[in-house]
């Protein structure tokens, strides 16, 4: 160590001591290991498939599915292809997820705010709700709603009737649905005009606020204007743009209106309630994390309670709430795969049926995984984008 000339000159380092070489080497060995593992699995898979007499391809997707799907947003017939059956599954997953997310958010917001209530009783009920539903497995809850509640509803003849238009029985929930009529077109013109007016008023008001250099709500004129035009249009249109299609008892079942099947209903109830308990916690902790000091500061500046909430608490709480909220949404979408327990034909259930019929488990698994991954990744990407946007305008 006591020599005074440099021990090495750059470029002449033995490779096993060179940090740069080691980095590349280490990664190479790691990748080699991973590839080797995958190769072994792939070889085993090919052998296994040969044993089962299957080949690995997606040709079967064009074959006739031959099984029925109990419900779906698009028309489907057993003579359609497997591909179409899978699409119905995807659409069912999307529809249960979206409706579930809306319901869970509303219920969750309600209980999250209730947990912060100054009323002890309300606070306690909300806490009991949250603790109760998030500590019981979702699958158990869904099965419970399906077998112990929905299936125990009265039969068609003894349906529970709500306001004479909605009916609940063990075959499902029947609600009146709006049916567009021929005069809908005329009303749509009114809506278009109203929208145009609203946009103009919005811009005018926005400009005015800018010139006055004062804070304000730029949609203050636009919103009422749109509503007035829409309302006028509703009454001026000859006939009504929509008629209500009421469900009515015909033969052994109700016809017409909207029907939620027992499977869909119990899955929706289970998913919404379970997720709402988590959303309530997200909302509560988000608002609570905007520390008391912030509120006190806002009050000391002289802001009123409503202004404090709108200008100080919410702008800080929302960016905190959004990321965990999104992950709850994703959880709900993924949990909708429990549909298979009540035989609701979602993506996973349809895929499972396809696997059983064709034996093509690997391609079907790949399709299922890719479908869920696309949903997850697009949602996360949207959330990241939103997060960047909100932190930028937050400053």
């Amino acid at each position: 160590m006591e020599n005074n000339s440099p021990t090495t000159v750059s470029g002449k380092i033995p490779f096993w001591r060179d940090v740069r070489v080691l980095r590349v080497l280490f990664q190479g060995i790691f990748l080699l290991g991973v590839i080797l593992l995958l190769a072994i699995l792939y070889r085993n898979m090919l052998e296994g498939l040969r044993g089962l007499g299957l080949t690995l391809n997606f040709n079967f997707l064009q074959d006739e599915a031959g099984f029925d799907i109990s419900e779906g947003p698009i028309a489907y017939d057993p003579s359609d292809t497997y591909l179409k059956a899978f699409c119905v599954g995807i659409l069912n997953t999307l529809s249960i997820s979206i409706i579930g997310i809306v319901c869970a958010t509303l219920i969750g917001l309600l209980f999250g705010i209730a947990r912060l209530s100054s009323n002890w009783l309300i606070r306690t009920i909300a806490a009991a709700y949250v603790e109760c539903f998030r500590n019981i497995p979702l699958l158990l809850q869904i099965i419970f709603w399906y077998t112990a509640v929905v299936a125990q509803l009265p039969n068609v003849r003894e349906s529970i009737s709500l306001f004479g238009g909605a009916f609940i029985n063990n075959r499902g929930i029947y609600l009146p649905s709006p049916e567009p009529t021929s005069s809908l077109k005329i009303w749509l013109w009114f809506l278009g005009a109203g929208l145009l007016l609203a946009v103009i008023l919005y811009i005018v008001r926005w400009r005015q606020l800018q010139q006055l250099d004062r804070p304000g709500f730029p949609a203050k004129w636009a919103l009422p204007a749109f509503l007035i035009v829409a309302l006028c249009g509703w009454f001026l249109t000859p006939g009504r743009p929509f008629t209500l299609d009421l469900p009515a008892l015909q033969g052994f079942n109700y016809q017409g209106g909207m029907r939620f099947t027992p499977e869909f209903s119990s899955l929706l109830i289970g998913l919404s309630i379970y997720t709402s308990a988590f959303i309530a916690e997200v909302v509560r902790s988000g608002i609570q994390s905007v520390v008391k000091g912030q509120r006190e500061a806002a009050r000391s500046v002289g802001l009123k309670e409503g202004q404090t909430l709108r200008l100080v608490v919410l702008p800080q709480a929302i960016p905190i709430i959004v990321p965990p909220l999104t992950s709850q949404y994703l959880n709900l979408a993924k949990n909708s795969s429990l549909a298979t327990a009540v035989a609701f034909p979602d993506l996973f259930h349809v895929g499972d049926t396809m696997m059983n019929q064709t034996g093509q488990s690997i391609p079907v698994f790949a399709m299922i995984m890719v479908s869920y991954l696309v949903m997850s990744l697009t949602t996360s990407a949207a959330m990241n984008w939103y997060n960047r946007w909100i932190t930028r305008i937050g400053r």
Partner: protein, 393 residues
């Protein structure tokens, strides 16, 4: 006299909060709160009335005691039940010792557990079961007094906890044909085993994945990130189905039974979430710690082992408990595949013609068991969180 008066503390004025005052402040302080309170009371009245009427007049609770063994251990053979009790005793001894050594939370749990055994012994159960229950209380009590104050034992007990996992697995399984096949494990026992295996085995895997994801070598980071995000992006049920269907295809020749396949599926699933939890802890270790370790001359392995992990893992304990709760609930999904875990037992009891139409009773009972476990664990996790917050070195 004077001295005493001087040193006497001035107490705050006694708050004159009578029950009436409390009611007024917390329930009737504004007109809308009064309204809400009244509505809530009406709602509660009808809800409780409805539930209690059902529970005491309509519900047929006979189904629970008649199938109690099934709920607890599934089809675990009766003549081998001593294995389960031995496992419980091992845990009881460790718990008693820990309660004596550490006190606090563990002590409270030990007391609660003894209470549960005591109540079980009072219930109309077989004499042998009563004996086993009382034995468990004795185990906890004796080991509590043995462990009390002997702080030197602490590392040994920690080692004992870690070692207890494989030992209990062996005790429950036994050897060869004379033992109990894993396919006979069931009920709450199986639920607990699946969750514990999921957490314990996924822990080292998760730490490894997290370290890889934090690595500054891109290839390693990408592989790890791909794995974690793929697993987190799909539902557990797909992973379980894949375990069930694909393991025999990918690993031909290996005879892996369904319970093991579920364990593998749950472990791989859990590892991705564990990795994200651990990563949170790793990110919480300030960069100054890495720099200081480098400046002292530690290499990567030493820095990770002696500096980064001890700090990171400490801060993720509450998150891991949370993950354990989630996993405990998620194990119910194995009942879809066909395993007879707690939920699977509930389903099979309802399918039994003797107990038709008792869905509400059976599922409620299962729900209560799940709830008690989850709630106890989340209570523990809050306690740990405060402990870590206060005694943070």
């Amino acid at each position: 006299m004077e001295d005493q008066e001087l040193t006497q503390e001035i107490k705050p004025p006694v708050s004159t909060k009578g029950p009436g005052r409390w009611l007024k402040e917390n329930l009737f302080n504004t007109w809308y709160n009064t309204l809400l309170t009244c509505l809530a009371l009406v709602f509660l009245f009808f809800a409780f009335k409805g539930f209690l009427t059902w529970a005491f007049t309509e519900a047929e609770w006979d189904v629970i005691p008649a199938n109690f063994r099934l709920f607890m251990v599934g089809s675990y053979p009766k003549e081998q039940i001593w294995r389960v009790w031995n496992a419980i005793y091992i845990l009881s001894v460790l718990m008693g010792l820990s309660a004596g050594l550490w006190g606090g939370l563990i002590f409270r749990f030990a007391v609660a557990l003894s209470g549960v055994w005591f109540i079980s012994a009072l219930l109309p159960v077989e004499l042998s079961t009563r004996g086993w229950c009382l034995g468990a209380i004795a185990m906890i009590a004796v080991s509590f007094f043995l462990g009390r104050g002997r702080t030197g034992l602490r590392p040994w007990i920690l080692g004992g906890w870690i070692l207890s996992f494989p030992v209990i697995m062996v005790v429950l399984r036994g050897f060869g044909e004379n033992g109990v096949l894993t396919s006979n494990w069931g009920g709450l026992l199986l639920t607990l085993i699946l969750a514990v295996v999921g957490i314990v085995v996924s822990f080292p895997l998760g730490v490894f994945l997290a370290l890889c994801r934090q690595s500054n070598l891109p290839a390693i980071r990408w592989v790890s990130t791909t794995y974690i995000e793929t697993v987190r992006g799909v539902p557990l049920i797909t992973i379980l189905f894949m375990g069930n269907v694909l393991i025999p295809i990918f690993m031909p020749g290996l005879d892996i039974n369904q319970v093991l396949r579920m364990m593998i599926g749950i472990t791989f699933f859990s590892a991705a979430y564990m990795a994200e939890n651990v990563r949170g802890g790793l990110q919480g270790v300030p960069s100054g710690q890495h720099e200081a370790a480098q400046a002292v001359g530690l290499n990567y392995a030493q820095t990770t082992l002696f500096i980064v992990l001890p700090q990171a893992l400490r801060s993720v304990i509450p998150a891991i408990v949370g993950q354990f709760i989630a996993l405990f609930k998620d194990t119910s999904l194995v009942s879809i595949i066909g395993l007879i875990d707690l939920l699977g037992v509930a389903k099979s009891v309802i399918a039994n013609p003797d107990w038709l139409g008792l869905q509400a009773e059976v599922y409620l009972f299962a729900a209560v068991i799940y709830f008690v476990f989850c709630y106890a664990m989340s209570y523990a996790s809050q306690d740990i969180e405060t402990d870590l917050g206060v005694g943070k070195h």
